[in-house]
């Protein structure tokens, strides 16, 4: 082995031990089964994670994104109703389509954040701006306080808008907006 290879080996071993110490429980299609309950909630059976290697039954689980902007479908924290982590999903796309649909819907409910497709009008009145937009969830009006501070840049052209009530609206790529919409919001970007 060359010196470089030795070093790399060292590094990967170090990485290995980091993972071992953290001991994060990953839920995979092999050991976890998600299903919808009668009450429209999500339940999980986590194989071999209960006491004495029995299956762990969770009647209700909550999902939380670790990287909501850049990796919305990866590293999902699965929590019980007390927000204690049961395990993590490395990549939701590894699961079958049904589970994917179920969990995506659950995530969408938690991160309700309509995508703005068209800006109809933005009016500035004192330190508030009043927006009339069309979103992926339908047309809506909202007010934003201190507009500059409540438009959050998340990545290159991505923008999050927080209204006075704490609702969120997303623009994935400002460059993809039609010219008229862009002109209306340009001064805030």
């Amino acid at each position: 082995m060359t010196e470089q290879e030795l070093k790399n080996n060292d590094l990967s071993q170090e990485k290995e031990s980091l993972m071992a110490v953290a001991d994060i429980k990953y839920i995979t299609p092999e050991n976890g089964v998600f299903r919808r309950t009668a009450g429209n909630l999500v339940a999980l059976t986590f194989r071999g994670m209960g006491e004495n290697g029995a299956d762990l039954e969770c009647p209700r689980v909550l999902l939380h994104r670790s990287f909501p902007f850049t990796m919305p479908m990866e590293y999902l924290s699965v929590q019980d109703t007390e927000f204690n982590e049961i395990g993590m999903i490395r990549d939701l796309r590894a699961f079958d389509e049904q589970t994917q649909a179920l969990l995506t819907q659950e995530l969408e409910r938690k991160y309700f954040c309509p995508e703005i497709v068209r800006v109809l009008s933005v009016k500035e009145r004192f330190s508030y701006s009043y927006w009339e937009v069309e979103t992926s969830a339908g047309a809506v009006e909202f007010a934003v306080h201190d507009t500059f501070r409540n438009i959050i840049r998340a990545g290159n052209n991505r923008v999050l808008i927080l209204d006075v009530d704490g609702n969120r609206y997303n623009i994935t790529d400002t460059d993809q907006l039609d010219a008229q919409s862009l002109r209306k919001i340009e001064m805030y970007l």
Binding site: N40, F126, Y130, D165, N167, R168, E186
Partner: protein, 760 residues
């Protein structure tokens, strides 16, 4: 029957068709998002014992818009989904607040079900719904008092949503006249200056308008040409008159400028002072919801923009308007045809200026933001230089700065390049219009319809037009900026503190120091109680230790005793008197707190210790510092007690800062002393020494000690274990230890940790 949201008749009809007894409508609320995450209208209605969840699109009114703003259309509801529940089976309704959506869930026959989803906009209504739902469940009756809240979220006049729910003020309908009148109130004190500057302004305008008549017409038509007047050939006299005229004008302009500047500076001083004083009076919650940067802006830049407006704006509006009108009148009387030619060029110039300012406004803003991010990048790397070096990331930091620098340079370049192009172009517009007038005017002079003097006067007047036109072209953005500032200033002036002194406060100059919590609940955010029905009592002169996990609500208890916040429910009593009734001054005088967040003000160490009692003698300062174990390190500093600290001057360590703030609290000599993790950054020996000194000092004083380390609490008479906002355990060390509960667990854990390292 009153409900949270008034159910429109067509929905009632629809429910009637489904077999509901709509005459017995008991509760109704509306949500704005359906189960698939689309904006819709979801009605939750309780009639008798039937509960319906009806979702669909209302073609008449949507959940986000009040009815009043829409014209009347034939009622129509496009139903998407309908669910029916039996009220008797529904238990434990709950609002589940998620990241940016919410659920309303309920137990139906032991199984939790989601009733509906809703956006944050409906949160207040949904919380009220749950409260009323539970009340009905317990067999209670809904009365009007249950709706005792500021009713609408929308302005009744125009239907616009109130931007700030705490302040029912619609920006659209707000009387802007009143706003200006209130600003003018600040000028009231300076009536003399106002009158003086007005007088100078009138003189200034009149003289400016007359000056071309003297400057051009007299010279060309009477001095240089023999027109039969005595002026012919009197060149010297003419020049002297002209010079006198100029000096007079100059004098008036200088006097006017100075008067306005003096007056406005004083007004702005008043405004700043008033805003700052008003801000200090507000409760802590006001500061929590707003960033410090924004507040500093309010004191400084908003007052500054008022200053600009009154120094440049108001006089300029008056001067520009009168100049423009005066010049136009004179020009029309002199030669109306030529005037029309001049005026045709004016709109072009007007719009060109408007466009230019809009463009540059955007460019400057972009430049500002890129420079701002470059500066913060620079500050970030430099203040984190230890970490940068420790991880050998100098190269990466360099690259990051380079990228930010490149962006800033590019934006700067674009501003400069464009201004280098656009301003000369604007000049060209003026030039061309001048040439046109010269052409037409010259032709008129040749034909004899215009004298040469008139022609020259005309040219002079023409150049006087462009200044005011340019000014009016950009006034709108200026005006908006200024009204925004005024509004923001009044937002602070009008804000009412949440924590205010009672109307007839009980004076308590000498407290005994007995503190009692009676069923106290408290929340920072509605529906998220941090303290839940906590009850306990501290006898006068007792020392209580408060332990608990991070986030259990320990510091909140300290905040409630000092009345930085008011309890949401229950009461806090000091010597049997509700804290809300005690005179604020007495309350503050008798309670001292050393909080987790320590703030050292700019000034000397002595000033910082004396902060709460500026009249303390230096001997007392030294005594307090000695008790707080601060004297030792202070005495070693080259400048001793006069060492200048705060604002990144001399760096004090965490423990040193804590000791100074303890000294500050001790010097106040309070009846109730609260130490919130006050010794957490110190080594155990120092902590021990401070405690011993304190024990001697705190005799006869009520002391509340909040700590993680149980060793900190060894002198406490009584201990309270706070868990999830409740007083989980209460008693002496021996009692709690015997209980084998949370305290026992904490104690054994910490003891073991010590054993492992061989301390005990």
């Amino acid at each position: 029957m009153r409900t949270i949201d008034q159910v429109p008749p067509h929905i009632l009809t629809l429910l009637g068709d489904k077999g509901f007894d709509t005459a017995d409508l008991r509760l109704a609320v509306r949500s704005d998002v359906d189960m698939d995450g689309r904006y819709a209208d979801v009605w939750l209605v309780l009639c008798g014992d039937d509960f319906a969840v009806l979702s669909g699109y209302d073609r008449v009114q949507t959940a986000r818009k009040p009815l009043a703003t829409l014209p009347e259309i034939k009622p129509c509801f496009e139903q998407l989904d309908y669910r029916h529940f039996d009220f008797a089976q529904m238990e434990e309704p709950k609002v589940e607040q998620l990241i940016s959506g919410n659920h309303l869930s309920v137990n139906v026959g032991g199984e939790r079900q989601i009733l509906c989803r809703f956006s944050h906009t409906r949160l207040t209504d949904m919380n009220l719904f749950i409260a009323l739902f539970s009340k009905l469940k317990e067999g209670g009756c809904i009365t009007d008092a249950d709706f005792d809240r500021e009713d609408s979220l929308f302005c009744p006049k125009c239907g616009m949503r109130y931007p700030d729910q705490a302040r029912k003020l619609c920006p659209k309908c707000m009387d802007k006249g009143t706003l200006w009148k209130r600003i003018l109130f600040f000028f009231g004190k300076y009536k003399r200056y106002v009158a003086l500057s007005m007088g100078f302004m009138v003189l200034n305008v009149v003289l400016s308008i007359v000056s071309p008549l003297v400057g051009s017409q007299l010279l060309y038509d009477e001095v240089l040409v023999d027109a039969g007047t005595p002026w012919y050939g009197q060149a010297l006299l003419y020049i002297l008159i002209l010079l006198g005229f100029r000096l007079l004008l100059l004098g008036i302009q200088v006097l006017q400028g100075r008067t306005v500047a003096k007056m406005s500076a004083r007004v702005v001083y008043d405004v700043k002072d008033t805003v700052f004083t008003a801000m200090q009076k507000l409760s802590l919650s006001f500061f929590n919801s707003r960033q410090t940067g924004g507040l500093m802006n309010r004191v400084n830049s908003d007052a500054q923009s008022l200053f600009d407006f009154f120094v440049d704006g108001v006089p300029n509006i008056a001067v520009s308007a009168t100049t423009m009108i005066g010049v136009c009148v004179i020009m029309f009387t002199m030669q109306w045809k030529l005037t029309l030619v001049v005026l045709t060029c004016v709109p072009l110039f007007f719009f060109a200026i408007r466009f230019t300012f809009a463009l540059f406004d955007r460019l400057w803003r972009r430049r500002w933001s890129s420079f701002h991010s470059m500066n913060s990048q620079l500050g970030d790397s430099l203040s984190g230089i230890r970490v940068v070096k420790a991880f050998a990331k100098e190269g990466v930091e360099g690259a990051r700065f380079e990228a930010a620098n490149a962006r800033a340079t590019a934006s700067d370049c674009s501003v400069r390049q464009r201004s280098a192009t656009i301003w000369p172009l604007l000049g060209l517009i003026i030039n061309v219009s001048t040439y046109i007038v010269w052409l037409v005017g010259g032709w008129m002079v040749v034909k004899g319809t215009l004298t040469f003097g008139e022609y020259m006067t005309f040219s002079a007047y023409m150049s006087m037009i462009y200044g005011p036109v340019g000014f009016f072209a950009q006034i709108s953005s200026w005006w908006t900026n200024c009204t925004n500032s005024i509004q923001r200033i009044f937002e602070v002036l009008d804000a009412r503190p949440d924590v205010c002194e009672a109307e007839n406060p009980v004076p308590m100059p000498e407290m005994q120091g007995a503190v009692e919590f009676k069923d106290v609940s408290f929340h920072y955010v509605v529906n998220k109680d941090v303290i839940k029905k906590a009850s306990f009592a501290i006898g006068a002169g007792q020392t209580i230790g408060i332990v608990g996990r991070t986030g259990a609500g320990k510091s909140t208890i300290a905040n409630l005793i000092t009345r930085l916040y008011d309890v949401s429910d229950g009461e806090v009593l000091i010597d049997g008197v509700n804290i809300k009734d005690i005179a604020m001054e007495d309350l503050r005088k008798n309670i001292s707190i050393v909080s987790q967040e320590i703030f050292i003000f700019m000034g000397t160490i002595a000033d910082n210790i004396r902060y709460a009692r500026p009249d303390a003698t230096m001997e007392e300062v030294i005594a307090a510092a000695t008790i707080a174990n601060a004297h030792e390190f202070i005495a070693k500093l080259p400048e001793g007690y006069e060492t200048y600290v705060g604002d990144s001057r001399r760096r004090l360590s965490g423990g040193e800062r804590q000791r100074i703030s303890i000294a500050r609290a001790i010097l106040r000599n309070p009846k109730i002393l609260i130490l919130d993790e006050a010794t957490a950054s110190m080594d155990t020996t120092t902590e021990r020494r401070i405690q011993e000194a304190l024990t001697r000092l705190v005799k006869g004083r009520t002391t509340v000690i909040i700590a993680h380390r149980l060793s900190t609490l060894r002198d406490a008479d009584v201990l309270a274990v706070i868990d999830e906002g409740k007083v989980a355990e209460y008693g002496t060390h021996a009692e709690l230890f015997a209980r084998k509960g949370i305290y026992h667990k904490l104690y054994t854990l910490q003891l073991e940790a010590l054993k492992n390292v061989g301390v005990e």
